[in-house]
Every structure is written in structure tokens, then in C-alpha cells.
């Protein structure tokens, strides 16, 4: 059963074509990553699915609803973490959760949610006293308090220090354990690799590749064999690393040489990403 189906989605702002024919499908319980540089069309795509924007063309189904006519039943089942939003500064973490819980028919227990996002110690702290990472956890907490089936996370860790990112990742993993479907946008490769079951790489309003992080790294790109000869770095790119490596080592053995700093490197997601999105993407 698909939580989200997108076919031929298009959206322009004036002359700018932000989304130019996007197709993808997200299964229930899946964590799906939209990966791409700034301006690739990720946020526009997500905001169409959240019901914020009208599409120019294409078919979209989110939990069986058309998000262009987002009724109450649709709102009850989605949770949203916006890329940027500043919530009220003068109320406490607990009050904020209680306020949002009140909007839903069947909210989760507020204390449980605060515990889940790791803010139990800050329960009675005013929002303005929280750190950036803690505020982001608050965003996630109020997105979860309605007990949604589908959670949208738009760049959930942008601007975090490494420790805060790790903590956020653990939390997002816990969403999978709860059985939630998650649509995550990010421009961090490692984030997509760590969290997503499948990744769609976006560039200039189109999806250039979809697959599991593993699939993306095992296709197309050559394996690199590197070593040093006569003080110079040599890089051999090949689709047949076993044969090439055998020839190279046989040759070196025959000459009685050592292949200095010999290294066989499989392409990383980063290599794939940079190839797909172009070096001048950022």
C-alpha cells in the first residue's frame, strides 16, 4: 500500500520551473529521502504534498487524499516539520505540546511525546531558553503529538552541530520503529544514507535517480584503483576492478616493485551525488 503517489508533478513560479515532471511512490512505513542541492525543487515538492501549494500539473495522492483539498481527516493524519518556523517563545515545552495536542481528535500522551523527543528535562522550560537543537526537537514533538501516520521533515538538521545531528538521527530512526511513513528532505548525503530506505536525488526540478543508498552506489560509477609510481599518483577507473588489479599487481611483482599506497575505492554516495547533480551544483 502506497502512502504517497506522485505522477508527472509540475510547478512553476512565474518563469521559474521549480518542479518539472516528478514521479515517485512511497510505501507505508518507509523512510524516503529527497536529496538535492538548494533550489532543486525539494521544498516545493514537499509543500505540494503537505497541502500548502497548488500544483500546475500531475496526479498526487497522499494517504488517499488529494492534498489540494486538504480536509480535516487529512490534517489529522499528517505531521509537519517546516524548514523554518519560530514558535511562541514565552510558553513552556509542555504548554506548547498541550496546545498542539488540543487540535487533534486522538492525540498521543503529551508526556510520552516530550520523552520521545528527549525534552523531558526541559518540560517546564520556556521555549526561548532552548538551544537550536532543542527547538528543532520541539518542532518534531509537536509534529508527532497528533499521532500522525505520515511525517514530513523538511531539512530537519540544517544548522546543527555534529552531536545534535546524531541525536536528531536517532529520533528519526525511532519514527521508523513507530511504523510512521517519513518523507525527509536534505542536502546532506550522509543524512540520506543514514536514515532513508530509499533516496530520490533531485536536480533542477527533476528526479535524476531513485533507489536504496546501496543501489545508488553500486550502479554506473567506476571503481577507482589508486597507487603511487615514481612519486606520482596514478588513478585507474574501471568497471572490472578484479581483472585490472590482477594485471597491475602481476606487472609490479614481475618487476619486483611495490605498488605504493595501493588502494581500491568503491564510489561513495557522495561521488554518485556529485556526478548526478553536477560539480557546480552548490
Amino acid at each position: 500500500m502506497s502512502a504517497i503517489v506522485v505522477r508527472g508533478l509540475r510547478k512553476s513560479y512565474g518563469k521559474l520551473e521549480a518542479v518539472r515532471g516528478v514521479d515517485f511512490e512511497i510505501e507505508e512505513g518507509e523512510v524516503f529521502g529527497l536529496l538535492g542541492p538548494n533550489g532543486a525543487g525539494k521544498t516545493t515538492t514537499v509543500e505540494i504534498l503537505e497541502g500548502y501549494r497548488k500544483r500546475d500539473a500531475g496526479d498526487v495522492s497522499v494517504l488517499g487524499h488529494d492534498p489540494e483539498r486538504p480536509g480535516r481527516e487529512f490534517r489529522e493524519r499528517i505531521g509537519v516539520v517546516l524548514q523554518q518556523s519560530q514558535l511562541w517563545q514565552n510558553i513552556t515545552v509542555h504548554e506548547m505540546h498541550r496546545m498542539f495536542a488540543g487540535y487533534y481528535e486522538h492525540p498521543r500522551d503529551v508526556g510520552e511525546v516530550i520523552e520521545l523527543v528527549g525534552l523531558a528535562e526541559k518540560r517546564d522550560a520556556r521555549v526561548k531558553t532552548l538551544s537550536g537543537g532543542q527547538k528543532r526537537r520541539l518542532d518534531l514533538g509537536i509534529a508527532l503529538v497528533g499521532d500522525p501516520d505520515l511525517v514530513f521533515l523538511d531539512e530537519p538538521t540544517t544548522g546543527f552541530d555534529p552531536a545534535a545531528r546524531r541525536a536528531a538521527w536517532d529520533m528519526i530512526r525511532s519514527l521508523r520503529a513507530l511504523g510512521k511513513t517519513v518523507l525527509l528532505t536534505t542536502h546532506y548525503l550522509d543524512e540520506a544514507e543514514q536514515l532513508a530506505d530509499r533516496v530520490a536525488v533531485m536536480r533542477e526540478g527533476t528526479i535524476v535517480r531513485v533507489g536504496t543508498p546501496r543501489e545508488l552506489t553500486t550502479t554506473d560509477l567506476d571503481v577507482e584503483i589508486r597507487f603511487r609510481r615514481d612519486g606520482e599518483d596514478v588513478v585507474v577507473s574501471t568497471t572490472e576492478p578484479t581483472r585490472v588489479l590482477h594485471e597491475l599487481t602481476a606487472e609490479a611483482l614481475a618487476r619486483g616493485e611495490e605498488l605504493e599506497r595501493l588502494e581500491v575505492r568503491r564510489p561513495t554516495l557522495e561521488d554518485v551525488y556529485l556526478t548526478l547533480t553536477g560539480d557546480d551544483a552548490e
Partner: protein
């Protein structure tokens, strides 16, 4: 509209208002402070009644514009620019419930302020409580509605959060001076009085003066009611046409 959601949101709005010290101070306390200050400056009689009573009447006008127009406009701009309105739209809270709760919350604050003005006047200056209470309540509701519509309209026209309080006060304070909220305007130059004569606050103050100072019913001032309603409708049209839920991009 679900009553449970409305009550929940009204309580939330009240919590947010009173918890924000700046808003509570500026919106709620400031008109009371002005009353105490002006009341100790003016002597004798104004409009044939003791000065503090006339000043109290004018300050109800200022309080209404301050709470429903300025307070609402600034709050809305800030919530829009910080994407709070956008975030709320993703919840099942209907927009109509949200707007209704915000308006009623504003009315609650203004009603409490008006009651505090009467209490303070009684204690400090021996001013009487109003006799035509029904008319007063009605006038307060009509005035709040008109100024709230103008507040939403103004919020829709203000583009950024930083400038909002400056812009709003640039409108509010001259309007209050020109329309007699801070004392009578009969000694003002005629062109200043002419400007005051087209502003909505002038007609709200006229209404309150008739009701509180002379004990007349609200229906004795049909013209003032009509002008106030016209301004309110004008505000409503702009608000409906121009209101945005989301911050400007970039």
C-alpha cells in the same frame, strides 16, 4: 466549527497574550498608565463633566484602537513572518476557528481593560460607573470588530516583521491625538480637526462619549455607527483580498 476547538484556542490565545510581558504591558497597562497621567494633569471640566470622566471616555477609545487594531496587527505580522500561521495551517484547526478565537481573545483583553479603567477612575478620581451598560457593551463589541478588521487589513499590507510595530504606532498615536482620545480637540487648528473627522476612532469616541458621559443609548448616534461600520467593512474587504498565511519567500 467545533466548540471544543474554539474554547481550546481561546485559552491558548489568552495564555500567549498574558505570558508575553511586552504585549501585556504595552497593550493592557499602557492605556491605564496614560489615564493616570492625563488625569493628574487636567483639571476642571471637559464637555461639561469632570475632566477625569471625559478622559476615561477618550481612553476607552484609545484602548480599543490599541488592543484590537495595533495589538492584533502586530501579533498577526509576527506570527505570519515567523511561519507560525503556516505551521498552524498544517494542523486540523480550521482557519475560521483560529480567527474567531483570536478576535474573541482580543475582545476579552479589551473588556478587561475597560473594566480596569472604570475601576481605576472610581478609586483615583471618583468617576461614576456607566449607566447605559447595554449600549456600552454593544459599542465595545462594534468598535472592537471594526478596529480588528482594520488591524487584519493593516497586517496584510505590512511586508516585514521588523517594521510592524513602528508602522502601526505611526498610525495609532496620531489618530488618537487627532480624534480626542487624549483630551478635547476643539483648540486644534481646523485642518488637524478635519483630518480627525474622517478617522474611525473619532466616531468610536463620539459613541462612548454619548453613552458614558451623557447616558444616551447607542442608537442615538446612527451616523457614528455607520461611519464606524463603513471603516470596518473597508478593512474587511482589504483583509479578505490581501491576507496571507505565509511569510514572504527569501
Amino acid at each position: 466549527m467545533s466548540l471544543r476547538l474554539f474554547v481550546h484556542q481561546l485559552r491558548s490565545e489568552q495564555l500567549l497574550f498574558w505570558r508575553s510581558k511586552e504585549a501585556a504591558l504595552f497593550i493592557f497597562i499602557f492605556p491605564l498608565l496614560l489615564f493616570v497621567l492625563l488625569g493628574s494633569v487636567y483639571n476642571g471640566t471637559i464637555y461639561g463633566v469632570p475632566a477625569p470622566q471625559a478622559l476615561l471616555s477618550g481612553l476607552i477609545g484609545y484602548g480599543c484602537a490599541n488592543t484590537a487594531f495595533a495589538g492584533l496587527a502586530i501579533t498577526l505580522v509576527i506570527r505570519r513572518e515567523q511561519a507560525i500561521l503556516k505551521r498552524l495551517r498544517a494542523t486540523p484547526l480550521p482557519a475560521s476557528t483560529y480567527v474567531a478565537a483570536m478576535l474573541v481573545s482580543t475582545l476579552v483583553v479589551f473588556a478587561l481593560q475597560t473594566a480596569a479603567l472604570f475601576g481605576l477612575g472610581r478609586v483615583l478620581y471618583g468617576t461614576p460607573f456607566p449607566s447605559a451598560v447595554g449600549s456600552l457593551v454593544l459599542a465595545v463589541i462594534v468598535g472592537s470588530a471594526a478596529f480588528a478588521a482594520l488591524g487584519v487589513a493593516t497586517a496584510s499590507l505590512i511586508r516585514s516583521g521588523e517594521g510592524s510595530s513602528a508602522v502601526v504606532n505611526f498610525i495609532l498615536l496620531p489618530m488618537a491625538f487627532l480624534t480626542g482620545s487624549f483630551g478635547p480637540t476643539r483648540h486644534y487648528p481646523s485642518f488637524l480637526r478635519a483630518i480627525g473627522d474622517v478617522l474611525p476612532l473619532k466616531y468610536f469616541v463620539d459613541l462612548i462619549n454619548a453613552i458614558y458621559l451623557r447616558g444616551h443609548g447607542i442608537w442615538t448616534k446612527p451616523f457614528a455607527l455607520c461611519v464606524l461600520a463603513a471603516w470596518g467593512l473597508g478593512g474587511l474587504v482589504v483583509a479578505v483580498l490581501k491576507f496571507r498565511w505565509e511569510p514572504r519567500e527569501g
